[in-house]
Amino acid sequence: MSDLPSPVTRGLSCLIKMKTYSHLPAALVFGLLLAACGDRPPAMPGSAQLESLGVLARQGRQASAVDQLQAWAERGSPIAQRELALAYEDQAASEKDAAFWLIKAARGGDKEAAFVLAGAYYNGKLGLGKDPVLAAQWYGKAAAQDDERAALMLSRMAKYGEGMPQDVKQSVAWLQQASAHGSAQAMFLLSNAYASGDGVAQDLALAHSWLEKSAQGDFPPALQSLALAMDGSSPNAEKNPERSYHLLKEATEERRMHWDKAQ
């Protein structure tokens, strides 16, 4: 931790704050003024409000939004810390700040931060070295809060023994959890596992039902698999050429949305 910078303490005066935030809704300015002037602790904004600030900071490039997030982050809001980290994440120069706040937020129990931090350790990003054990630990924290993406990653890590002992059965158990919480990608892989009996007893009926569910969740390989299974040439599948054509048409159209979505 010693290589991480301490957070910049801005120490802006009440007057500066007042000027900086003059365009903001009165309630927020009031809260920030109290925060800055330290009379008594104002109520922390809700998560949606902080995430909106995150949008203004990250996408809207509003310096004042960064300042506000910084203020709430320093007051200990894990959501503000995470949003601040995400705002810093895009800028290579601010990688260390991003990592610093992400770690704070994840330690503060923020699920999203735990997931993003785990990914940074898994891929060696944000100046954090590749560390599968830490990745698994943080994915575990996110998965414990029902994060389906984290459960999918744990499935992958268990399957290949990354950061944990190789365990194909445990890998399928994570797939089941990820699927139960809505990951269409996990549903597709779970369908594959049931189809081949890899890490779980073979069950073609379950394989098919998870394929259907994955396609309903728009996972592109599932849309394609289902379409090709019902276009008239598969002897054992339900024949429905119109649905097959519509599924592929759907997949074609959504190609542009899904190109970067798979984990």
């Binding site: 892989l189 698999s225 598969s234 592929l248």
Partner: protein, 696 residues
């Protein structure tokens, strides 16, 4: 402040709308008697996706299952039933068919033109429209032009003058320009209507009614269209935006407020980042909610033989969402599926109470009406006026599909004998994919990807079109092409070589052991041949999953392998070599493939998304098309003779056959594929049974 661009145009439209609907000469100044009743319908289309006509531009055949020309018939019917009506579209209008791509990319419509889909919508007299995520697919410049909107975004300039555009207001309240910090479209609009109402004493009067609309798009556009949008715009949450603008709409006098929300219904806790946040608009003071994006039917379809309610909708909490009757927190809500397949109809009854129009909620009805709404069997007819209106664009798109690509080939690129070793329809795809991936890695600024630059890039692709749907279902690009008489490829031919338009190029990084398993799984397409059997044996017992027969290739045909079909599945690959050396289990390879295979399609061992290193936004078809155009000339010597695989030779006592299109022995002979020995009898499905000599 609301951006004022489009304001003059808006006023003009408003005047037109009044003129169009105010057929009665009743003066506007007339007082509406307390207790008067007004019945109206709000009509919705969503996710048209450039399906102006029911037509499949890939197959070049009519398609009666979708299209705005049939929706037009539904609209006319609904208007006849509901003389007081407004028609809105919920976005995802301009992209989705070859017609859309043609008008946006191949021959972009100019400022003086109007997109075919907008022409049709103008003719249908839409009252307003929202913006969907796919509107951003062709970039902000194009969107600015075809909507005649100045976005106030740095580097995006609308052509001077008035460009062809929808003749109705477009609204979007949650996308702002980074430069101006203001909405890029008008966040809302008020549409003045003249409607017939009934006074308490039974008289029919004309009354003014102001319908307010505001629009929303999923914040995920920032990811999906990153390269078009990053640094230029930002997307606020739908609820925050509604909370800002609904009161403004009310202040502007809107009697009825309708949200055009291009997003589905999701009951997860609210976040301004959520993709399908429409449910959270229901508590912002709106009167009706038009949703889309998910391409689903809401409320549940009512016609006979209707599809069941989608599971994701059925799972929504019943105390919030009434999926049978179409309400979210008691706000009438409709989603008209996609591609013009349905029309959303919300019928409202309003009573003039205390000097204002009050919606009589118990009288509200909601329907998502499909083509077969009358009896579940009979489809409505297409409105021929739409076809007439866009005839030139439609024909131009078909001509575009058939126009020369600018590339010739000197050989017949076919899949008749792909399972006997011919790579004529596959090698070019592999070469295109290798070229793409090598460039991608060479130009990448990502440190991890750059570190892979010394790993060999190989590629795989399959005979996608090889008998799955009968004896005529084989790829055959450039029949009869020869060195003496090369064939000029058409724009649509990359779609023959690469059948699936839904695939994106992806690359995976694997070990030699993974490659061996991959090839074994591919080789499972072959039947197990018993050399001692005297009865006829099928080399390929079924073509149903032949798209999983991946053929690998390395530049210069440097990868070679053999398949021993006498062995059981899993033990068939022998003599796997790269650059003349046996492939070791620990060797690294980068394989160019597609998102289907890389993500686990076909259930290949270890290929499950975990090894994906490149996720390209580019379609595999486009990759093939670009490469063909770059080559200019495709030759058998360079692009069709790199046979990377063969069978382990074995003499069989009985006949081994491969089913293919009748009359194609000459194709095999021209390729020098001597193992295709003779053409035999027809099977009951019409395939010829070609004799395969595995000792050759």
């Amino acid at each position: 402040m609301i951006k004022n661009i489009g304001r003059p145009a808006l006023a003009a439209i408003a005047a037109m709308t009044v003129a169009a609907c105010g057929s009665s000469s009743t003066p506007l100044t007339q007082q509406t008697p307390e207790g008067s009743v007004l019945k109206m319908a709000i009509l919705e289309t969503t996710d048209i996706h450039s399906n102006v006509l029911g037509y499949n531009y890939y197959a070049l055949t009519p398609d009666a299952t979708l299209g705005l020309d049939r929706t037009s018939t539904l609209i006319q019917g609904a208007r006849a039933e509901n003389p007081n009506n407004v028609l809105f579209d919920d976005g995802d209008v301009i992209q989705g068919t070859l017609l859309g791509d043609y008008q946006a990319q191949a021959t972009p419509v100019g400022c003086n033109g109007t997109l075919a889909v907008h022409k049709a919508m103008n003719a249908l007299k839409y009252d307003g429209g929202g913006i969907g995520n796919h509107e951003f697919n062709y970039g902000l410049g194009f969107l600015s032009q075809i909507t005649n909107s100045d976005f106030g975004v740095t580097g995006v300039a609308k052509p001077a003058g008035t460009c062809g555009a929808p003749a109705f207001p477009l609204v979007l309240s949650n996308v702002n320009s980074v430069a101006s910090q203001k909405p890029i479209f008008n966040p809302y609009a008020v549409i003045p209507k003249q409607f017939a109402a009934t006074t308490p004493d039974g008289k029919s009067i004309q009354v003014p009614l102001k319908v307010g609309i505001l629009g929303f798009v999923p914040p995920q556009i920032m990811d999906w269209d990153q390269k078009n949008l990053a640094g230029k715009v930002y997307v606020n949450g739908v609820q925050e935006s509604a909370n800002q603008y609904v009161p403004q709409l009310r202040s502007a006098g809107a009697d009825v407020v309708v949200a055009l929300s291009h997003g589905g219904l999701d009951a997860s806790p609210y976040s301004p980042k959520m993709e399908n946040g429409s449910l959270y608009l229901s508590t912002t003071g709106i009167d009706a909610l038009l949703v889309g994006h998910s391409h689903l039917i809401f409320p549940a379809a009512k016609e006979a033989k209707a599809p069941a309610l989608d599971a994701s909708l059925a799972a929504l909490p019943a105390n919030i969402v009434d999926s049978k009757n179409g309400f979210v927190n008691n706000v009438p809500t409709v989603m008209a599926q996609s591609w013009g397949r349905r029309l959303g109809i919300i019928q409202l009854t309003l009573k003039f109470t205390g000097g204002k129009w009050v919606i009589q909620k118990p009288l509200t009805t909601v329907e998502a009406r499909g083509f077969k709404y009358t009896d579940g069997v009979t489809s409505v007819a297409a409105d021929p006026a739409i076809a007439t209106l866009v005839d030139s664009e439609h024909k131009a798109t078909i001509a575009y599909a058939q126009q020369p690509l600018g590339t010739t080939t000197d050989f017949e690129m076919s899949s008749y004998f792909s399972l006997a070793g011919d790579v004529g329809a596959i090698q070019i795809v592999n070469q295109a994919q290798i070229d793409y991936v090598k460039n991608f890695i060479a130009n990448s600024t990502d440190a991890t990807l750059s570190s892979y630059k010394n790993i060999p890039v190989i590629s795989c692709s399959a005979p996608f079109k090889a008998g799955r749907n009968g004896p005529s279902d084989f790829t055959d690009v450039a029949p009869n092409a020869s060195k003496a008489s090369p064939f000029s490829l058409q724009v649509r031919n990359p779609g023959d070589l690469y059948l699936y338009s839904n695939n994106n190029l992806q690359a995976v990084k694997i070990k030699g052991s993974d490659l061996k398993n991959w090839l074994e799984t591919s080789a499972s397409q072959f039947g197990k041949i018993d050399p001692n059997a005297t009865a006829e044996q099928d080399l390929v017992p079924s073509y149903s999953t032949i798209y999983n027969y991946d053929v690998f290739y390395a530049e210069g045909n440097a990868m070679q392998y053999q398949i021993d079909v006498t062995q059981p599945v899993g033990s068939r690959i022998v003599n796997l070599a790269y650059q003349g050396k046996p492939v070791a289990a620990s060797d690294d390879f980068i394989v160019a493939t597609n998102d289907y295979r890389a993500g686990g399609g076909g259930n290949f061992p270890g290929i499950d998304g975990s090894k994906t290193i490149i996720k390209s936004p580019d379609a595999s078809q486009a990759v093939v098309s670009s490469y063909l155009q770059k080559l200019g000339k495709v030759t058998q010597a360079n692009n069709g003779s790199g046979q990377s695989w063969s069978f382990v030779k074995v003499a069989t006592k009985g006949p081994v056959i491969l089913r293919s299109t009748p009359g194609k022995l000459a194709v095999a002979q021209a390729l020098g594929l001597s193992r295709v020995a003779a053409e035999g009898a027809l099977d009951p499905s019409g395939f010829s049974k070609y004799a395969i000599d595995l000792s050759k």
